[in-house]
Structures are given as structure tokens and as C-alpha cells.
């Protein structure tokens, strides 16, 4: 079973890297980019075969390590 975790900065937390990407896009002529937020994707190969159990475990992983919930939020896809 595979899980994909998307980690993004929470709304309202300024993203200096996203801003730099936005500026760079502007320099390349992409004038219509009004905002860029940069996050990360973490793919997990899990031994679990039950989707609900897997999701529960991945939530725990996010809370304990994969995301810093002071500044980040996460979403989980199980497949």
C-alpha cells in the first residue's frame, strides 16, 4: 500500500522560497503569477493492507515527524 503526504506551509505563514520562485517566474516573462507556495511531497511504501489503518498510522507519522504543525499543514492520499 502506498501513501503520499503533501506538506505545505499554513496559510498566513510567509514563504520566502515561494516568493523567490514567483520573482524568478516574473523575470522569465510569466507576469500573471500572483502567488507561489512551495511544499513537499513524501511517498511512503507501507506494509499495511488496510487503508483505514494505514491512514491512521500516516497521520501519526505526520504529527510526530513529517510535518511541523507549528508552521505546516498536511494532506494524505492512500492508494
Amino acid at each position: 500500500m502506498k501513501a503520499r503526504v503533501h506538506v505545505m506551509l499554513k496559510d498566513g505563514v510567509l514563504d520566502p522560497q515561494g516568493e523567490a520562485v514567483r520573482h524568478a517566474l516574473g523575470h522569465l516573462g510569466f507576469s500573471g503569477v500572483e502567488g507561489v507556495r512551495q511544499g513537499k511531497v513524501i511517498e511512503l511504501d507501507l506494509a499495511a493492507t488496510d487503508a483505514a489503518a494505514a491512514e491512521k498510522e500516516v497521520v501519526e507519522m505526520c504529527e510526530k515527524l513529517l510535518a511541523n504543525t507549528v508552521i505546516e499543514k498536511y494532506t494524505i492520499e492512500i492508494a
Binding site: V13, P16, L66
Partner: protein
């Protein structure tokens, strides 16, 4: 006074930190990240700067969950003194011992230079060797020192007089120019600037020595 200095893979200020303590007259024990206990009789733990675990995932994230990490948390929760410098500050926020988080510098540039700071409270053993508002120069060297905290958290820090140092000339975009913060019990401090790189003349300044002298002078009350 006995200090424990932790070394993670990728720490690079651990020897400087040990020397800072030793020069002030403290006994230093070195602790490896796989150790699960802090040696008996330790009064203060130093979490050094560097790039623990290559800054993978987030700065300080892996170190804060390493075997010794839990021992540091337990030590702090029992009222032990802990100082985290630079990457050590990132580790302490990742452990949840200090509020807020350290993000990429607003300039996106690695900053490395002597940095002027203002001592924002003297109500902690770490800053007790200075006067309120004293200006000191400690070196900074970091890419992720942009201190972020929400409005509520900031109000709490300010209201409880828990900002230890502020930058004079903000180098990284930190909220309210915050360079160092204290825990609720004032026994845990995290700071981006490096006092251990300012303890003898050959380093270009000695403004950090008073911090280590104050710690070393704590005696047996810790």
C-alpha cells in the same frame, strides 16, 4: 557545574561549545546522539550548532527525534537547564521545548557575520551576566534563522518577558527581531547567534563569555 554537550552527525559547533563551558570553569561531558541517557550530575545540556542529519526534512527535525532527543526533553521537563544554539535552537523548537519555528532567512541568503544584539531580559541565568539593554556582538552563521511565531504566541512571549535577545539590524526577517527565546520556566534558551564563538580574543571578541561564566557559576542549585 557540569555541562553535557550533545553531538549529532553533522554537528560542527560541539567542540566550540564544550570549550566555551570549559573556559568558564565547567566540567564537560560529551554525549553522542545514540546515547539514551544524560550522565548523572549534569546541570546543563548544550545542544550545538551545525547541520544535524544534513538538515534533512527540516532543520533539527531528525535530531529532535533521535535517541538522545527524548533524554533531553525529559531533562528539561524535570527542570534541567538547556541551551540550544543555532541548529540547537532549531532542535529545541522541533522538540516543542520552545515555541515558534525557524524558517528560511527572508533574504534566502546564508548570513555569516558578527551580529549586534540587545540583551532583552536579564531574568534568566543565561543572560544574568549582562545588563538589560546591553549591546553585545555574537557571530551568526545560518540559512534558516527566520524566527516565526503567531500573534498569540508572540504576545505571550512578550508578556512573560521571554525574549532573551533581539537583533540590532534584523539579518533574517525574524518576527519582532527575536534572536533568542526562553521557555516558560526560563531554564531553556534557544538562540541563533553563537556566544561560544565569542569567548576569547582570538575569535575576535569575548562578549559571549559572560553567558558561560553565569552558567558555570550556578553552583549546585540547578
Amino acid at each position: 557545574m557540569k555541562a553535557a554537550v550533545i553531538t549529532f552527525p553533522g554537528s560542527n559547533c560541539d567542540r566550540d561549545l564544550a570549550m566555551g563551558f570549559e573556559k568558564a570553569g565547567a566540567e564537560v561531558v560529551r554525549v553522542w546522539h545514540k546515547d539514551t541517557e544524560i550522565p548523572a550530575g549534569v546541570d546543563v545540556i548544550g545542544v550545538p550548532g551545525g547541520f544535524s542529519f544534513g538538515d534533512y526534512l527540516r532543520c533539527g527535525a531528525i535530531a529532535s527525534r533521535s535517541p538522545v532527543g527524548q533524554a533531553v526533553v525529559d531533562f528539561a521537563k524535570k527542570g534541567g537547564y538547556v541551551i540550544g544554539i543555532c541548529n540547537g535552537f532549531q532542535v529545541l523548537t522541533e522538540m516543542g521545548l520552545l515555541p515558534g519555528a525557524l524558517m528560511r532567512n527572508a533574504s534566502l541568503k546564508f548570513v555569516c557575520r558578527p551580529q549586534k544584539l540587545k540583551v532583552a531580559t536579564t531574568d534568566s541565568v543565561f543572560t544574568s551576566g549582562y545588563g538589560l539593554g546591553d549591546e553585545v556582538v555574537y557571530p551568526i552563521a545560518h540559512h534558516d534563522g527566520n524566527y516565526v511565531i503567531d500573534a498569540e504566541g508572540l504576545a505571550r512571549l512578550e508578556g512573560e518577558d521571554r525574549v532573551a535577545y533581539r537583533y540590532v539590524g534584523n539579518p533574517n526577517g525574524s518576527t519582532a527581531d527575536i534572536a533568542g527565546v526562553l521557555s516558560e520556566n526560563r531554564r531553556v534558551i534557544g538562540m541563533m547567534p553563537h556566544p561560544e564563538r565569542a569567548v576569547e580574543g582570538a575569535q575576535g571578541g569575548t562578549d559571549g563569555a559572560a553567558l558561560f561564566r553565569a552558567l558555570a557559576g550556578m553552583g549546585a542549585d540547578a
